[in-house]
């Protein structure tokens, strides 16, 4: 009898053993270690490390070249706004009857599925001297002699537009899914009341997809702060395109400054947590129905 009861209490834990172990080993232990490293001068290799207190944090906020990577995020934030706007527009028009709807849907979404390295190469060629962009501009009689990835501003704008190209499709599909879950009678009723497309968008679609919209906003903020792939593949962080994650990876794995890199990662984590918390406060109807 007691054995049976023991088994009963043990059973759920047997199912949870593997997932919990992985969760702790690969998520919580790293976070704890990262906090600990961030107060040391560890190089990641030697057995010696000294406790340095908040020195690493002071360094991050006082050395302008370390802090300036945050300004690069600004380009990606602006790009996210464009991306969400475009996604919203296309999701709205494609949720109504349009010819070749599935074809357009597929074309818009497909970039999201493409390998990041392949995208990096496609757009390196795109922005090359005499590459795709220059050739297209020449077609329209515009001979350009600028190097698109040559100056910090134009390089960052170019890279941020690649991220619009890549991620608009995801937002678009999320919005489309949300719009389609709005009951169709609502539009018919609105149309009988004389509502035009804009009214329908403003009063039916926009409120209907608010949770997904706010989720997209938060995803794009944390995404803009943690950009890595495209700039790393395309420019390696040169000409002022270094992002926060590129810098952290370089600090940790090239310059062996594990302590400083950990502090940087903690700062990023805190910012993202703050943003998430703020979003939860501002949009409380975004329910978490896990339990």
């Amino acid at each position: 009898m007691r054995r049976a009861r023991l088994w009963r209490t043990l059973t759920p834990w047997l199912f949870l053993a593997a997932p919990l172990t992985l969760l702790i080993v690969f998520t919580y232990a790293p976070v704890a270690n990262m906090l600990a490293y961030s107060f040391t001068d560890w190089d990641g290799v030697s057995p010696e490390l000294t406790y340095t207190g908040p020195d690493n944090y002071v360094e991050i906020f006082t050395r302008p070249e370390l802090f300036q990577v945050f300004f690069v995020s600004g380009y990606y934030l602006a790009a996210s706004a464009v991306q969400i706007g475009l996604a919203l527009y296309f999701a709205t028009i494609l949720s109504f009857n349009v010819r070749f709807r599935n074809l357009f849907k597929g074309i818009l979404f497909f970039p999201y599925l493409i390998n990041g390295v392949a995208i990096g190469f496609v757009f390196l060629y795109f922005f090359q001297d005499g590459g795709t962009l220059d050739s297209v501009l020449a077609l329209f009689g515009h001979e350009s002699d600028r190097t698109w990835l040559g100056s910090p501003t134009s390089a960052n704008i170019s890279l941020a537009s690649v991220s619009v190209w890549r991620y608009t499709g995801l937002n678009f599909v999320l919005f489309l899914g949300a719009i389609q879950s709005i009951p169709g009678e609502l539009y018919e009723a609105a149309e009988l009341d004389g509502a035009n497309r804009w009214h329908q968008f403003r009063f039916i679609i926009a409120p209907g997809i608010r949770p997904v919209l706010s989720l997209s906003v938060i995803l794009s903020i944390s995404g803009s702060l943690s950009v890595f792939e495209i700039p790393y593949i395309m420019t390696g962080g040169a000409t002022g395109t270094e992002t926060f994650v590129i810098q952290t990876v370089k600090l940790a794995f090239q310059f062996n400054k594990t302590g400083l890199a950990s502090a940087a990662a903690v700062v990023l984590l805190l910012i993202i947590l703050a943003v998430t918390w703020l979003q939860r406060r501002l949009v409380p109807d975004d329910r978490v129905d896990l339990v």
Binding site: L23, I93, F110, V122, Q128, S226
Partner: protein, 288 residues
């Protein structure tokens, strides 16, 4: 556009027609923006070295559409066979692991009332807030100390361990499976493991399909984890092997383009075959 025009006066009809034209123009424009960079790379991959050198511009057509030499070079010298092999190995184990682990966790959380259930759920929940990129510096030390650095097991373990989204997908779906099924199986003498294996797991099929697709695409395309954990040449996955084209092939855009197309092609085929499931997978996977 769903209902016929209610008025027959000229202006609204005209206005509607203009709106329609603008709608289609914007759709065609967007499609061009999406497709053009890709199409040009396809064209480039079919050009010979000579044609690339004559400076005729990116938009010219290749001399022959059957010039597949660059693909052969990319495949052979870029060691794409090893790359596809390693990727397939990682995909298989990471996906199997994610499905088993995710469904087991969801089963335990949804079907059992046990002590510390809420804290356990909270542990999984809070973990979603920690973006993987931020913790890699510290994760690296753990992977290294487990002796997994530069083995294919490192990415496999990381993909399985950080996948909380799939637990959510399973959990969501599990709620729609009536508990009475479990109960009747229990009356027939089945224990919890038999119920999980014979009743729950088979019924989870749609959720499993979603997880396999979302996970598969993520793993196939990931660059960050293999880049950090698999530095050896013979442990390249498709992302890192393609990335290495930057060195030896330098400015040989015809070869780099062929490599990129080789990597994108499987995605395109999978997308065309599984379109509907992929859309569903992403709407389900990402909103949770």
């Amino acid at each position: 556009m769903t209902t016929p025009a209610t008025t027959t006066t000229a202006t609204p009809v005209l206005r509607r027609r203009v709106a329609r034209t603008l709608t289609y123009l914007s759709l065609v424009g967007a499609s061009a923006v999406v497709l053009l960079p890709l199409l040009v790379v396809v064209l480039t991959s079919l050009k010979t070295e000579r044609q690339m050198a004559d400076d005729s511009g990116a938009l010219t057509l290749p001399d022959s559409f059957l010039n597949l030499g660059n693909y052969a070079t990319a495949f052979r010298d870029g060691e794409m066979l090893t790359a596809f092999g390693n990727t397939a190995f990682i995909l298989f184990f990471a996906i199997t692991g994610t499905v088993l682990i995710g469904s087991m966790a969801a089963y335990a959380i949804d079907r059992f009332a046990f002590r510390f259930r809420k804290p356990v759920v909270a542990l999984f929940l809070v973990a979603t807030l920690v973006p993987g990129v931020t913790t890699q510096v510290a994760t690296f030390q753990i992977v290294d100390s487990l002796g997994m650095f530069d083995t294919l097991w490192a990415p496999i373990a990381l993909y399985m361990g950080t996948d909380i989204v799939s637990i959510y997908i399973f959990l969501q779906f599990m709620r729609s499976i009536p508990v009475s099924l479990d109960e009747s199986a229990r009356l027939d003498g089945a224990n919890a493991f038999t119920i999980y294996r014979k009743v729950i797991f088979p019924l989870l099929k749609p959720a499993i399909a979603t997880v396999v697709i979302v996970k598969g695409i993520t793993v196939y395309n990931d660059f960050y984890i293999p880049f950090l954990y698999l530095p050896s040449d013979d442990r390249g996955v498709i992302s890192t092997s393609l990335f290495r084209f930057k060195g030896p092939f330098g400015a040989h855009w015809e070869t780099i383009s062929a490599g990129a197309i080789l990597v994108v092609l499987p995605t395109l085929i999978a997308f065309l075959l599984l379109q509907r499931f992929i859309y569903n997978g992403f709407t389900r996977g990402a909103t949770k």
